[in-house]
């Protein structure tokens, strides 16, 4: 057995938390090996150990049969291990070349030989078919090119073993196909690849073997040809997994949210939302599908008052909302589960109880004449905590101490309790475990069944297809298509998300 990488019985602790509990991973030369697990299972931690960013408390690492101690990324690099990070490790203000050569700069006299560096980058880029512009600044290039720069960083240092950490999170289905081709080409050139992912379809498509990790423990290694997505999902989660949510037919009634010709500019005075039309009715869930960067975040910000809109109309039950203050919009009947729960959703250093009245503290009964009524505030908090199964020692605990899932549940409880006519959920299940995800999906459907209008924004196509009744595809700031969730496929959505038009005529509202 020719193993190029062996991680044997690796143990990694952070304080009392055991992130990797005696995990064994063996990668053959020339294979694409998947490391599968849920969010927080310990896959990234394990790879950070391999890459030298963390030191394990126990276990052994062997590279090409020899036992090694990888004390920092330089050692990993020397051993031929390179990592393509999930969150790109790129300096925005530097050029493509500067990012690639950082730490191994070619020198002439005392200074960096930037000409040689750029030539080297060009040569490498041609050899592997990774198109980049060596002189461009990172902040000016596309996400796809940024990822190629990440890959080139590893190849520049002569990596033989490449670790890809969740590389497809920010790509369209088409770009994912391109990446798969790149990976196959790398393997043809003799490289070995470890692919960290929780996307079952990708594993089935491109990997040779898969190792499953669950809650820090290694569950087993299988040949991909011997297994299937259902089995993998159950191994990953530890129990039977339902891929679709149970829900009844939607019974939509009148329009609640009507957006017409909305235009929103970004910092560079470009229209990120470019004449957008959309309607959401009471009793339905509309999901917005699109690749990150096509205006969906700005759309949500405009509806909730966090961003100024240039022109157009946003009506809630006939009332014009456009460019009103966030408070007025909330008072009119909009609830919002924000994309970034730590940034917009909670004041982490406030007790969870005080967070529950974040939008209502100035109203009775929570305050009167400017003086807060803490009895009322904490009564309400207790009620919500129980109703929404928020696991916390008590209502006085700081929000920071709660897990992501419980923080999100608290936010949902707060928003739903205000009884909004329109509930906006932006990336509501990002970073959460399966139990929390199921809970949140149930709640969204519950709201829909109670006659609310729900607008769902998510980058996980599965979630959008599962939960929504209708799906609106956003591309370059416009809604380019609206499809029934039961009648569409991932392929169709992928094409629409990348800009190809539906065969039928135009956009429906």
């Amino acid at each position: 057995m020719d193993y190029v990488i062996e991680m044997l019985n690796i143990r990694k602790e952070f304080g009392s938390f055991v992130a990797n509990d005696n995990i064994t991973l063996q990668v053959k030369k020339g294979e694409i090996h998947a490391l599968l697990g849920e969010n927080g299972a310990g896959k990234s931690t394990l790879m950070n150990v391999l890459f030298g960013l963390y030191q394990p408390e126990g276990g052994e690492i062997r590279v090409k049969g020899e036992s090694v101690k990888i004390t920092d990324p330089n050692v990993a690099n020397d051993l031929g291990i390179g990592m393509v990070h999930q969150h790109f490790m790129l300096v925005d203000t530097f050029s493509v070349t500067e990012n690639i050569i950082l730490g191994s700069e070619p020198k002439k006299g005392g200074k960096i030989d930037i000409k040689k560096a750029e030539a080297d980058v060009r040569a490498l880029s041609e050899q592997y078919g990774l198109a980049v512009d060596p002189t461009a600044k990172i902040s000016d290039i596309s996400v796809g090119m940024q990822q190629r720069v990440e890959i080139l960083k590893t190849l520049y240092r002569g990596a033989e073993i490449l670790i890809f950490d969740e590389p497809t999170a920010v790509l369209t289905p088409q770009e994912i196909q391109e990446l798969i081709q790149i990976m196959k080409a790398l393997v043809n050139e003799g490289k070995s690849i470890i692919l960290i992912t929780h996307k079952l379809k990708e594993i089935m498509e491109v990997c040779d073997r898969v190792t499953v990790i669950r809650r820090g423990k290694g569950i087993g290694t299988l040949n991909v040809s011997d297994t299937n997505p259902t089995e993998l999902a159950e191994l990953m989660v530890g129990r039977e997994v339902k891929f679709t949510t149970d829900k009844e037919e939607a019974k939509p009634t009148e329009p609640v949210l009507e957006i017409q010709n909305l235009v929103v500019k970004d910092a560079r005075h470009i229209n990120t939302v470019d004449g957008l039309n959309l309607t959401v009715r009471a009793g339905e869930i509309v999901g917005i599908a699109g690749v990150d960067g096509n205006g969906q975040s700005e759309l949500i910000e405009a509806i909730t008052g966090l961003r100024k809109a240039e022109s157009g109309s946003i009506k809630l039950n006939g009332k014009e909302l456009i460019n009103l203050s966030p408070r007025k919009i909330t008072e009119t009947g909009v609830g919002h589960i924000p994309q970034d729960r730590h940034k917009h959703g909670l004041v982490l250093d406030f007790p969870i109880g005080e967070n529950m009245v974040l939008q209502t503290y100035y109203q009775e009964p929570f305050s009167k004449n400017g003086i807060l009524n803490f009895n009322q505030i904490y009564d309400k908090a207790r009620k919500l905590i129980e109703e929404y199964d928020v696991r916390t020692p008590d209502e006085y605990t700081k929000a920071r101490a709660l897990s992501g899932g419980n923080q999100q549940k608290a936010i949902i409880g707060r928003e739903v309790d205000r009884n909004p006519d329109l509930l906006i959920a932006a990336q509501p299940t990002r970073g959460l475990d399966v139990g929390a995800i199921e809970f949140i999906h149930k709640r969204l459907i519950e709201q829909r069944d109670q006659g609310k209008a729900v607008l769902l924004l998510s980058f996980e196509l599965d979630e959008v297809m599962n939960v929504s009744d209708r799906i609106a595809v956003i591309y370059e700031g416009k809604i380019v298509a609206i499809v029934d969730s039961k009648e569409t496929t991932e392929q169709e959505l992928g094409l629409l998300m990348a800009g190809s038009k539906k065969k039928e005529a135009g956009v429906t509202s």
């Binding site: 909730t304 966090l306 203050s325 966030p326 408070r327 909330t330 919002h336 924000p338 970034d340 940034k343 917009h344 959703g345 909670l346 004041v347 982490l348 250093d349 406030f350 005080e354 974040l358 939008q359 503290y361 100035y362 305050s367 400017g370 003086i371 807060l372």
Partner: protein, 348 residues
């Protein structure tokens, strides 16, 4: 982590202990006797009614300066401009105290209010620059300190006196001094300002913890984005925080102008009260009660220090060194927490 529950009190306490320890090392290394030095310190602060009176008097502006810095800190701002806000407050208080003849029940509060307004105004500028233009308040407030110094000196020379070095004495009706207090403390400069500063502490506590405005200020201090989304006007709250902070600082100046000195004189440099206020706020954990306790500590240190040159030969600056060290240790609380957890693990 259990350490967390006690670290609120433990860390400042440890920081003080460490500061005093290092202070003794400094004394030893410089050839002084730490025991003599600290004894002189203690005596100089509490040794007899005169000293106690002086200590209480010194603590008074420290409380208010500490409240000013702490209030700003709680709302996410670093107000290093207390020195300047204090000076303009002092000037305003004395100006009112000297220029009018009114019954005490009007004159005194008026003078104090003038001081608060002046300090508030002086802090308004860095506040609005931060809110609107995102200019960091640290540099602006420091610049405003120097501007305040020169401007108040110029006004003293031209308006409050005739090219002289100090103003006239404020009228009795605007003074905080009292014969009664003087008599029980052997003719120290103790005045009624201490009551005002304690009231100030209560005001800060009530404002921040019990009112909707306080809720907003705290929220903005912790997370501007969430506050904005929750409907709060972030810019307005930033400016308000600085203005209230400046008002506290201005009143601190009034304490000096209406109580300690009963006039204002041209200054060659800063009083130091504003900078010490930063130490007080940090040590007091930015809470009202913490500030009061820390102010008492620092006031005692400063007055006690005056005794050190004559009794133990130690220069008064030693206390400044100790104070600086305490700030260091409080700021490096991560280290202290680390030591505590290490100790806890070994104790098991």
């Amino acid at each position: 982590m259990n350490v967390g529950r006690f670290s609120g009190v433990l860390i400042p306490l440890l920081a003080v202990v460490l500061g005093i320890l290092v202070g003794s090392i400094v004394m030893l290394v410089s050839g002084y006797n730490p025991i003599e030095g600290y004894s002189a310190l203690l005596y100089g602060a509490f040794g007899d009614p005169y000293y106690i009176g002086e200590t209480i008097r010194q603590v008074t502006p420290y409380i208010l300066a500490g409240l000013a810095v702490a209030f700003a800190f709680r709302t996410g701002l670093f107000n290093i401009g207390v020195e300047g806000q204090l000076l303009v407050g002092w000037l305003a208080a004395v100006w009112v105290g000297v220029s009018f003849e009114l019954p005490k029940v009007i004159h005194l509060p008026l003078a104090i209010l003038a001081a608060a307004a002046a300090g508030a105004l002086w802090a308004f500028i860095p506040g609005i620059l931060k809110a609107r233009f995102k200019v960091h308040e640290v540099i602006v407030t420091i610049m405003m300190n120097y501007i305040a110094l020169h401007v108040t000196n110029a006004i003293i020379r031209s308006v409050l006196s005739d090219k002289g070095f100090k103003s006239e004495k404020v009228h009795e009706s605007a003074s905080l001094r009292s014969d009664f207090l003087q008599s029980i403390t052997d003719y120290s400069t103790l005045h009624y300002g201490i009551i005002i500063s304690l009231i100030g502490a209560v005001v800060m506590w009530f404002l921040l913890e019990k009112t909707t405005k306080g809720y907003e200020l705290r929220a903005v201090g912790f997370n501007q984005h969430a506050s904005h989304y929750a409907g709060m006007n972030v810019n307005q709250n930033i400016v308000l925080a600085m203005v209230i902070s400046g008002a506290f600082a201005g009143v601190a100046g009034a304490m000096e102008g209406l109580g300690t000195f009963e006039n204002i004189s041209v200054k060659g440099g800063f009083t130091g009260v504003g900078f010490d206020g930063i130490a007080v706020a940090l040590l007091g954990g930015n809470t009202a009660i913490g500030v009061v306790l820390a102010a008492i500590l620092f006031g005692s240190l400063k007055i006690g220090a005056l005794e050190m040159p004559s009794s133990a030969g130690v220069p008064v600056e030693l206390v400044d060194i100790i104070i600086a060290l305490i700030i260091f240790f409080v700021a490096s609380s991560y280290l202290i927490r680390l030591i505590l957890t290490r100790l806890k693990k070994e104790g098991k």
